[in-house]
Each structure stands twice: as C-alpha cells, then as structure tokens.
C-alpha cells in the first residue's frame, strides 16, 4: 500500500516514513501544497497523511481538490498541531477519514490506518487470527472455536490495539491514550490500565495458554506472534 505524507517538517516526515516503511508501506513525501497537488494528481494513494499548516497554503484546499477528482478512494488522515475541535469537524466534514492531533504516537497512527483499511476495502476476511483466537473488528468480538469470549468494550479495545501493534511494546501511556482518548490531566502512570489487562488475560487464558501475551516490566505490554 502506498502512502503520501504531506508534511513540511522534514524531521517528522522522515520518522513517519521510516515507521511506515518498516510496516511494509511504500512512502512518498510532499513538503509543499504545490508538490502535493502534483503528486495527488498523478498517482492514486491508499493513504494521504495531510498536515493542515503548509508553507504555501492550507491543507483543507488539498482535501477539497482531492475530493473534486473522480474515482479516487484515497483515504485522508489529517495530522495537525491545530487541535481545535472546529478543525476536526471541518476536516471530517470535508471528507477526511480521520484526524490525529500532533503529537501522536506512530502506533496510534498505524491503528487508525488499519481501521480505515478495513472500513474502506471490506477485506474479505474481517477477522484477524491470532493463536486460534479470531478478532472481528466490525462486530468487536473475539471468538475461540465459534465460542464468543465475553470481553468488555475496554478489554476489546486494549486487545485489538495490542494485536494491531503486534511484536511491539506498547506502553501504558500509549494504551491509556488509545482507549480513553486524549483526556487532559488523566493520570497516565496510574495502573488502572493494568486492571483491564489483568481481566483480559484472565478471560483469554481460560481458552488458550497466553505466554505470547507479555507484560514488559515497568513499561507496558507486548503481543508476540
């Protein structure tokens, strides 16, 4: 899948590039509105990561232009330091698929991209198979041999996020932010994520051994596949 990063901050663009390349994406950069326009005009992208504040104009203009093109299904995720609610609403209204406020974590970005892919392309199998557990994102369920494992909403979110970011340590902070949203002043260091993870592991372990569900001491969790 190919991604166009429209971002004038070279440092950030390079990091996102490195991360997504590592995840198997093909990545291109555009640092100005003009060069982005040219690229969008010529190529189809699976994802366009769009910064709103560009040196030669507003990202909304690009979004409008893209939506004006025919037969385009490029998914747009707006990345911006302008965290205003109005911007978010305006962006989504104008056809962006998601909105991430800077600074965001790359694993969160990846999770959002996965979610969009599933929504857009209706993958033939919505299920992710992990050690015999079937994670269905549409229905938000986890099945084991046609038996549904009864997870709470938050337990499912945590599991899903860890599965999407498999083989990577996900910190409590990162998990908290993903599950509870970007709530100000919420205590990222509190162990109340642990309570959910503990319950989740207890539930899963009733079906299969979960040695692959690793607790990384003092940092967070990792699912090894």
């Amino acid at each position: 899948m190919n991604v166009l990063i429209v971002e004038d901050e070279k440092g950030l663009a390079l990091e996102v590039d490195e991360f997504l390349s590592h995840e198997g994406f093909t990545v291109e950069h555009a640092r100005t509105k003009k060069s982005a326009e040219e690229k969008i005009f010529v190529n189809n992208y699976d994802f366009i990561l769009l910064d709103l504040g560009l040196p030669d104009g507003d990202g909304f203009g690009l979004l409008k232009m893209l939506k004006g093109l025919e037969k385009r299904e490029d998914a747009v995720i707006i990345l911006t330091a302008r965290g205003a609610v109005d911007d978010r609403v305006l962006g989504l209204e104008q056809g962006a698929d998601d909105y991430l406020a800077k600074p965001f974590s790359l694993s969160e970005l990846l999770a959002r991209m996965h979610a969009i892919t599933r929504r857009k392309h209706r993958l033939e199998s919505n299920d992710i198979n992990i050690k015999g557990l079937r994670v269905n994102i549409q229905n938000r369920t986890v099945m084991f041999n046609d038996e549904r494992i009864n997870l709470t909403k938050k337990e499912f979110e945590i599991f899903n996020y860890l599965v999407l970011n498999k083989n990577r340590v996900i910190s409590r902070t990162n998990l908290t932010e993903h599950v509870w949203g970007d709530v100000l002043e919420i205590n990222s260091d509190s162990n109340f994520v642990d309570v959910h993870v503990k319950n989740l592991r207890k539930k899963l372990s009733q079906y299969i051994p979960i040695d692959w569900f690793e607790t990384v001491r003092s940092i967070g969790y990792r699912i090894n596949i």
């Binding site: 901050e9 440092g11 950030l12 990091e15 996102v16 490195e18 991360f19 590592h22 330091a81 302008r82 965290g83 205003a84 609610v85 800077k102 600074p103 965001f104 974590s105 790359l106 694993s107 938050k154 990577r168 340590v169 910190s171 902070t173 990162n174 932010e177 509870w180 970007d182 709530v183 100000l184 002043e185 919420i186 205590n187 990222s188 260091d189 509190s190 162990n191 109340f192 309570v195 959910h196 003092s218 940092i219 967070g220």
Partner: protein, 440 residues
C-alpha cells in the same frame, strides 16, 4: 463615610459656624451700641440735673439734706440724689453700672450713672438710671431670630448640599461602579466614556481606561505568547516522540536503552499534556470556543461516571449520584465535559481508598447548583485560595499531576459565567459547588 455625605457635612458645619459667629457679633455689638446710646443720654441728663440743682423741687430736698428720688411715669427713668459724707474734693469721675431696682414690687434692670458732686458745702451722690429692658428684649429677639435662621439654614444647606453633591458626584460613582467594581476581566472592559462636565472625573475616567487598555494589551500579549509557544512546541515534540518510537523498533537495542526510551516517551507525553492544557486555557480565555450547544448536565455527569468507573472501582470509592433535576445550559459541550471531568477526577484523585463521592443538585428561583463532595484529605483556607492557580498541586498518591486541572476549571467556568464555590474541611473532605445562573 461617603464623600458626598462628608462634603455636605463640611459645608453645613462651616455655614453653622459662620452664622453662629455673625449672630454673636451682632448680639455683642447691639449691646455695646445701645449701652453707648443710653450712657450718652444719661450724661446729658446728668448735666441737666446738675444745672437744675439750685432751682425747684430738687433744691428743697437738698436744702433739707433729704434723699431725692424721681421716677418718670413708666418707671423707665429715675433720678436719685443722696447726701453722703462730706468730701471736699469729690472725684469728678462718672461710673456706669447695671443694677436691678425694686420699685413698688416691680423689679427693673437699669443702666445707672453714678456721680459725686459738692453743692453748697455738702457732698451728694447722683444716680441717674434708665431701664434697659428694651435692649434685653431686642437681644432676646435677635437671639431667637438667629437660632431660627441658623436652623433653617442648616436644614436648607444640608438638603441642597446633599442634592448638589449627589448630582456633582454621580459621574464619579458611575466611574467607580462601571470601570472598577464591575470589571472582573480587563478583556471585557467597557471603554465607553462616562458623561461628565467635571474635568477631574474626565481625567479619572481616561486614566482608568488607558490603564485598562495597557493591562488588557499585556494580557493579550501573554495569551498569544502562550498560545504560540505551545503550538510551536507540539511539532518538535511530535518529531522526537516519533523518533523514539522508531528507535524502539530496532531489535538490537539493549533492555536498558529500551527502558530509557520508554521513560523518555512518557516524559514527552507529560510535556504534551501540559502544553495541551495551557493551550486549552488560553483558547478558552481568548473566547475561541462557541457556546452553541445545549448541554444537559446530568447526561454529561453520567458519561463521565462511565469513563471514570475504572478508577472509582480501583480505589473502591462509593459513587452516589443524587441529581434530581434534568437541567440544561447553553454552552460548549466538550468544555463542560472537561470541566466536570476535572472536578470529578480530582474528587477521585484526592480521595482516600474506600471513601465516597456524592453529587447533589439544588434548584432555586435564581440558580441551579451542583455540588460534588469527596471524603479526601481536604484543604485549608490558603490551599483553597491557591487551588485554582496554574501549576498548583498538592500531595497525592499518584505520581503525576500537572496542577492544571483546576486552572482549566477556572477558565471554563468564567467563560460560561458559572460560579465556583469550594468548601473544605481538613481531613474530612472537599465540596466543589458549581452555581449556574438561571437567567442565562
């Protein structure tokens, strides 16, 4: 005491003093003048009497060495000649005195001239008196009149002064009220001039306005600065955090380095939270939010309860929601959510394990209020006063607190015109009351 009353009082007192002074002056001078007149007349009649000694009735009395007394019909005047011990060289001086004399059971006050003289080898004392009752009467009339005038003047001046100073000082009080008392935020200062013809008040008005202008410019500058700085910091933080995440992908990383990376990410996250909180405050203070939503408070509280349920359970708190009313306000829903979230989150954060959180509401004719009460360690008066300042934090079990939660509460409540009341008893708990004005 109000300036107006002081001025009126001062004016009245000075007027009373002037009237008293002139009254006394008049009284004294009347006495002096009339006595003077009487004395001149008495001296004239002395001369006349002395001239008549050798003739008529007086002569007979003198010859027989008897006392001669003569009153006129109305007893307003008398002449009295009494023989005294012989004195060959009587002093020629004339003495005046005021005495009362009893004539036929009637006491009269006279101004009396006394004079010794020799006549035909004898010494006599001549006394000529004139009643001064009329003078006394005049004096008492003037006294009464002065008192009356004094009283009337007093009342009149007091009233007129009060009315006039009220009129005169009206712009002054208006300036104080509109430009100083009612201003709780220099951003919403009313620069309209107060009408007055008094130059001093104009100057006062102008000075206050220009001072406010300066203050609000500083405020704007400060807010813009915070907003810009915060905004500009977000991108570099984003780059660093992405870079750290990428480094973590390298498998050859030692466990120690990996831990350090994660710790750094956590620190960055903290930085991000602080910046976002400051940005939120500055946006609220710059009125960058609209108030177009109808927000049902009970619904928001229910939502927050669900969001925070984990923490409530974790701390084994008893959460009691006693809201009786479905009350909605016009405002910004995300902000009201943040407001209540921060207060309830604090009630959890600053609570003892197995404590309780109670939410009650109250509806009166003027206001609707919600109280959120915890059973935490409480605060003393000084802590309450400081609680809403930025970066003010108290001891808590939890390691990370940025001290911005209540600063956000403060900015959101003043944006929505909500009053906040904090009651706290040390070691018993804290109650935060939000008071919504029903007029709005």
């Amino acid at each position: 005491m109000k300036l107006q009353v002081k001025l009126a009082l001062y004016n009245t007192l000075t007027k009373v003093a002037i009237i008293l002074f002139t009254g006394l002056l008049i009284l004294l001078s009347i006495e002096k003048i009339s006595y003077n007149h009487i004395e001149v007349r008495l001296e004239d009649s002395k001369e006349a009497t002395l001239g008549r000694l050798s003739t008529g009735e007086i002569n007979n009395f003198l010859n027989s060495q008897k006392e001669y007394t003569d009153y006129n019909i109305l007893r307003e005047e008398f002449i009295n000649i009494t023989p005294t011990k012989y004195n060959p060289n009587p002093s020629n001086e004339i003495k005046f005195s005021t005495e009362s004399r009893k004539v036929d059971n009637d006491v009269q006050i006279y101004r009396i001239l006394s004079h010794q003289f020799n006549f035909n080898g004898h010494t006599y004392l001549l006394q000529i008196g004139e009643a001064i009752e009329s003078v006394e009467e005049l004096k008492s009339i003037i006294k009464k009149f002065t008192l009356l005038v004094l009283f009337i003047a007093l009342v009149l001046t007091l009233i007129s002064d009060l009315v006039f100073t009220k009129f005169l000082l009206a712009p002054f009080y208006k300036i104080i009220d509109r430009k100083l008392i009612k201003v709780n935020d220099p951003m919403n200062f009313d620069y309209e001039k107060i009408k007055t013809t008094t130059q001093d008040f104009e100057m006062l008005d102008d000075s206050i306005s220009s001072l406010m202008k300066k203050i609000s410019n500083l405020f704007i500058l400060e807010k813009q600065f915070i907003a810009n700085v915060s905004h500009e910091l977000l991108t570099p933080i984003s780059i660093i955090s992405s870079r750290l995440e990428n480094i973590l992908l390298h498998e050859e990383l030692s466990e120690g380095s990996e831990n350090k990376m994660h710790a750094s990410l956590k620190t960055l996250n903290r930085l991000k939270s602080i910046i976002n909180s400051l940005l939120l405050i500055s946006k609220v203070e710059n009125n960058q939010f609209n108030k177009a939503d109808v927000v049902m408070l009970a619904g928001v509280i229910k939502e927050i309860h669900e969001e925070l349920e984990d923490r409530i359970i974790e701390k084994q708190l008893k959460f009691t929601n006693h809201l009786k009313y479905i009350y909605s306000i016009q405002g910004n829903r995300p902000l009201i959510h943040t407001l209540l979230f921060n207060i309830i989150n604090n009630a959890i954060k600053y609570n003892y394990p197995k404590g309780s959180i109670t939410i009650i509401d109250e509806l009166t004719d003027e206001v609707y209020s919600i109280s959120i009460t915890d059973t935490g360690p409480g605060m003393d008066q000084k802590q309450i006063e400081n609680a809403f300042n930025r970066f003010e934090k108290f001891d808590t079990d939890e390691k990370e607190s940025y001290g911005l939660g209540l600063a956000i509460v403060k900015s959101i409540t003043s944006f929505h015109n909500i009053k906040v009341k904090v009651d706290s008893v040390k070691d018993q708990g804290t109650s935060v009351q939000l008071i919504f004005n029903r007029d709005e």
